[in-house]
Amino acid sequence: MSMHVPIPKVSTLVGVWAALIVLTGTTSAVSYVELGEWNIVVALLIAFMKASLVVWVFMAIRHSTTLTRLFCIAGLLWLGIMIVITFGDYSTRNWTYQAQPWSHTKAVGGSH
């Protein structure tokens, strides 16, 4: 009884390595170009592409069970929840909120 695991080709692994090196060069080069707010977007986009390559091939998610993939996505989801809620907090701290008497709130309530 031997294990039936798909063994990756050397060419696939080396190909992913080459793509990662090229993407590292690209992200370094792009950082010297002034793009304003877009610099961080491009940098993070390339980082996500690199991370996806590592997860898909090196970490063999492409051959893993659906349950393992689900766990992987769940990890990203929880990370997303943490970041969204943190920013929900920080981005709304400056909202001025005037406390109103109950009757007044009701009176203006219909117009919002």
Binding site: M1, T24, N39, T68, F71, I83
Partner: protein
């Protein structure tokens, strides 16, 4: 159904030795290991994620102070380290492949190469830390006057604090990884791993690739954004 006569051996068949009694098949055992490792890695994602969220919050609060810090970051050393880690990930993936194919010598070779790349990374990181110390960029312990942008001398400390937390935690993971790899290397010398038993190589490989991914995000966030001018 014809039966083949096998010579009687007092040793248990090699395939069976590593299958624990509570698993039905080798595949099931491997799936369980993989799922467990991924669960651990998710806790690691959230562990590093907390620091990334903190970084994002403070970058939003003090954008100018954060931008001023990037001129102190050595993009060449950071980029070199990124490439070194990518190479180590390749050799790690090749080590797993060698174990899957029972290629003992390749496995030892690729494990050693992975450890060499990991060590190079830590040495370069050490030089960077040394530079930061000399330049007085270590908040709390050795913080100078921040000559390039003295108006941010106060607020930029939070960035360098985050820099040392994040890269320090990453380096600690690398050191733990090197310890795990030396454990694998000893086992590999004893020819423990073969086509039917390579789970430890694959699991430590997953951990090593995860640490690589953390650096893939640290490099652009700490070194690249806003370093022009």
């Amino acid at each position: 159904m014809a039966e083949t006569i096998v010579p009687v051996s007092h040793e248990p068949p090699a395939e069976a030795t590593h299958l624990r009694h509570h698993f039905a098949t080798e595949e099931q055992q491997m799936d369980a290991s993989t799922l467990g490792m991924w669960t651990f890695l998710i806790t690691e994602v959230l562990f590093f994620g907390g620091m990334f969220a903190g970084y994002a919050v403070y970058r939003n609060l003090y954008p100018a102070a954060f931008a001023s810090s990037s001129q102190y970051m050595n993009v060449v050393l950071g980029g070199t380290n990124t490439a070194v880690l990518i190479c180590s990930s390749l050799t790690m993936a090749l080590a797993v492949r060698a174990a899957q194919l029972s290629k003992q010598r390749d496995l030892i070779l690729f494990l050693i190469l992975t450890m060499i790349f990991g060590t190079i990374f830590l040495v370069i990181k050490g030089f960077e830390y040394h530079d930061k110390w000399v330049e007085g960029l270590v908040p709390g312990l050795h913080w100078g006057s921040y000559p390039e942008a003295p108006q941010f001398a106060h607020n930029a400390q939070i960035l360098f604090f985050l820099y040392f937390c994040m890269t320090g935690m990453h380096a600690l993971h690398m050191i733990i990884g090197l310890g795990l790899l030396s454990f694998l290397l000893i086992q590999a010398y004893r020819r423990v791993f073969h086509a039917n038993y390579f789970a430890p190589v694959e699991m430590i490989g997953l951990y090593w690739h995860f640490v690589d991914i953390v650096w893939i995000f640290l490099f652009p966030l700490l070194y690249l954004i806003g370093h022009r001018r």
